[in-house]
Symmetry: none
Subunit: 404 residues, 2 copies
């Protein structure tokens, strides 16, 4: 049995699961020993995704992680404010002639993946607004059952350089079961809760993007793959929805983040990748990966820093009303609170149009280069002046419950 062979440190409860699967599903699926023997565990299949999927036996996979092309549809170049050029994803593999073409491609690979999933297997697909809605629709149309959509909030996203949209600071993962009937999928609820300060794991995850030494580079020092995912993201996926010894399929393997994390966490993997350059880098990477000690294979609580609070959220929360007046401690300067969280300086007789952040307006009022608006501006409550920093403290108390 390849699956049993590939597993490491299988616990009693895990054994029970394996046994159950064996008796109910694996046996019919692997009636032909010839087929079973070719299940390429911990290997990278280099070639076309659909062909390689078709070569795998049905109902053999425990978990799927898929990072398909996003179909970004970029048409121009983009420069940073310092005139440096953004290194965009312009690879051929991300180009599709139309939404219809992208849909056809998506339907094909998702159908192929669904065939090789065990009935209680689940799938994660990651994407952005360019493609994720199409992926989600097709998942539903094919009979998958969505369990959650999950938001990967990026700690350090690329800014919006032209100031014409919100900073695109997240990507979306869809987590789905093979069908609505499959209720006995793996979800390590207790472990996730224990690793999250005894608080249920939420559908929003806060993680940095992949940079630094984790980011693979080629000989010339440029990135090996344009869209390498952070290992922390894959770790959270595998820890949440698989057990040690499980077999994880990644049909868009790239440089093998899924494989490296699977090895570290005591899972097996099968990767499909059509680009030999990526596959080669993945092989070297996975060979160098060291499995963690068994007892370390559990979710680790993440550090949390003091959350940054915007003055706009103080206004939104109703702690101070638009139109209210602020002043400094000595009542020498006054400013009006606006609905969007900016201030308008109320200078005697002068132009009333100075509008800006609490910090900027505080600095302008005093003629200083900078100012901490939180401590400079005060609000009158019960005849006493209190710094608006007190309002921030209130907000932080509420945030602490849920924010990371």
């Amino acid at each position: 049995m390849r699956i049993a062979r590939a597993g490491t440190a299988v616990t009693k409860s895990q054994l029970k699961v394996l046994r159950t699967e064996h008796s109910h599903r694996l046996v019919p699926a692997v009636a032909s020993p010839a087929v079973q023997s070719v299940l390429p565990v911990n290997e990278i299949l280099v070639g076309d995704c659909l062909e390689k999927l078709a070569s795998l036996p049905p109902a053999s996979i425990d978990l799927v992680f898929a990072d398909p092309p996003y179909n970004l549809q970029l048409e121009q170049t983009l420069s940073r404010p310092d005139q440096s050029l953004v290194d965009a994803v312009d690879d051929d593999w991300d180009k599709f002639a139309s939404f219809a073409d992208y849909d056809e491609f998506t339907r094909a690979w998702l159908s192929g993946v669904r065939r090789v999933m065990k009935d209680n297997a689940t799938i994660f697909v990651i994407g952005s607004y360019h493609n994720i809605f199409r992926v989600g629709t097709i998942l539903q149309d094919l009979g998958f059952w969505i369990l959650n959509d999950i938001v990967w909030r990026k700690a350090n996203p690329m800014p919006n350089f032209r100031g014409r949209r919100f900073t695109n600071a997240h990507e979306t993962l869809i987590w789905a079961g093979k069908s609505a009937a499959a209720k006995n999928y793996t979800f390590n609820y207790e472990a996730l809760k224990a690793g999250n300060e005894d608080c249920q794991a939420r559908s929003d995850w806060f993680l940095p993007i992949c940079t630094g030494t984790e980011r693979l580079k080629n000989e010339t020092g440029s990135k090996t793959h344009p869209t390498q995912k952070p290992e922390a993201l894959l770790a959270r996926v595998l820890l949440a929805a698989s057990q040690p010894g499980d077999l994880v399929l990644d049909p868009f393997f790239g440089t093998g983040t899924t494989g490296a994390v699977a090895k570290k966490l005591g899972r097996s993997f099968i990767g499909i990748e059509r680009d030999e350059t990526y596959a080669k880098a993945a092989r070297a990477r996975i060979a160098a990966a060291e499995p963690y000690p068994d007892e370390a294979v559990s979710a680790a609580p993440s550090k949390r820093a003091q959350p940054r609070v915007a003055f706009a959220s103080v206004v939104e929360a109703g702690l101070i009303a638009p139109g209210a007046m602020l002043c400094d401690e000595k009542k020498r300067h006054r400013a009006l609170v606006r609905a969007d969280g900016t201030l308008m300086l109320a200078s005697a007789g002068a132009e009333l149009s100075i509008v800006g952040s609490i910090h900027k307006v505080g600095a302008l009022a005093q003629g200083l280069p900078a100012c901490n608006g939180w401590t400079f501006w005060h609000v009158e409550r019960n005849g006493k002046l209190a710094p608006i920093d007190d309002l921030r403290t209130t907000i932080r108390g509420a945030l602490k419950v849920a924010a990371e």
Copy 2:
């Protein structure tokens, strides 16, 4: 003209936009004065969403906020009641049929909404993983252009009682323009940034759900509407993507959160709601809402809206004399001011014939593809270097006085 009436402090460039829209779109659309006169500003249209949308003139709306139904099993507007999801989860045909019904409904109302949107209008649609993927796909298929997907992270989501999934702690908003060609949509970038600690606004928003006194209750104490959205969410939408006086459409008005917030923020609204009970609650709520003071909601001055000033007029005004020398902040480059408002680069020993605009010469001096000459070039005054942007500010001040 309702639109001009509603506008406040219309600038020259805005007037031009209005004129363009008037001549190209509004006039043909409102050929019949009777139709124009019935634009039901600040009213709630009680009835079928599609019918009411069809009664509105085309290209008349500045911003749309839509919170469509997504519970297939309870949705009565769908042409076929759906029992298939519960009873026959394995039946792909039934499943497809019910999704198809939802898709048909979605395509219908989104088409109706698109017709009444001005070309530079945008739309926000909110949903969860049950429906948002289908909404996003249909938005794209209808020609809308997605600008962002936005995640509303809930401060206090309902816990997951079964412990079989991640706590569903967010909802998704899709922000889209009417088409990819429409680039001049409203996005109050600078105000959002100023209200967010001078840091550009991200695609993930953290807000509490609607509870407490904000939550409408009926006589028996139960909630009036099952999915009432928090006003803070609507406030952020309106503050980000509309201007005071703009007309906001909400085709699923419910208990009127959009209308109440629009009134408070100096926007107009049109609501469509088929349930008279909800509409009645909304009317009372909006009547009780108090607008914030004008100066708390007026459009924040943005650099983009400032009138253009030619460097030639700075020279003409005598603020800097022909023959004067400019340099960059680090005194690495020097250029001579010419009487016609062009600069001549003074490179050491090399050809002196490089002449061009402040931007071109700045770019050439640094070997960059582009440069903002206003902030790059400096002039020495009283032993200190000041950017020539200061001179532009002086000119603009004079222009402002002359205009009044």
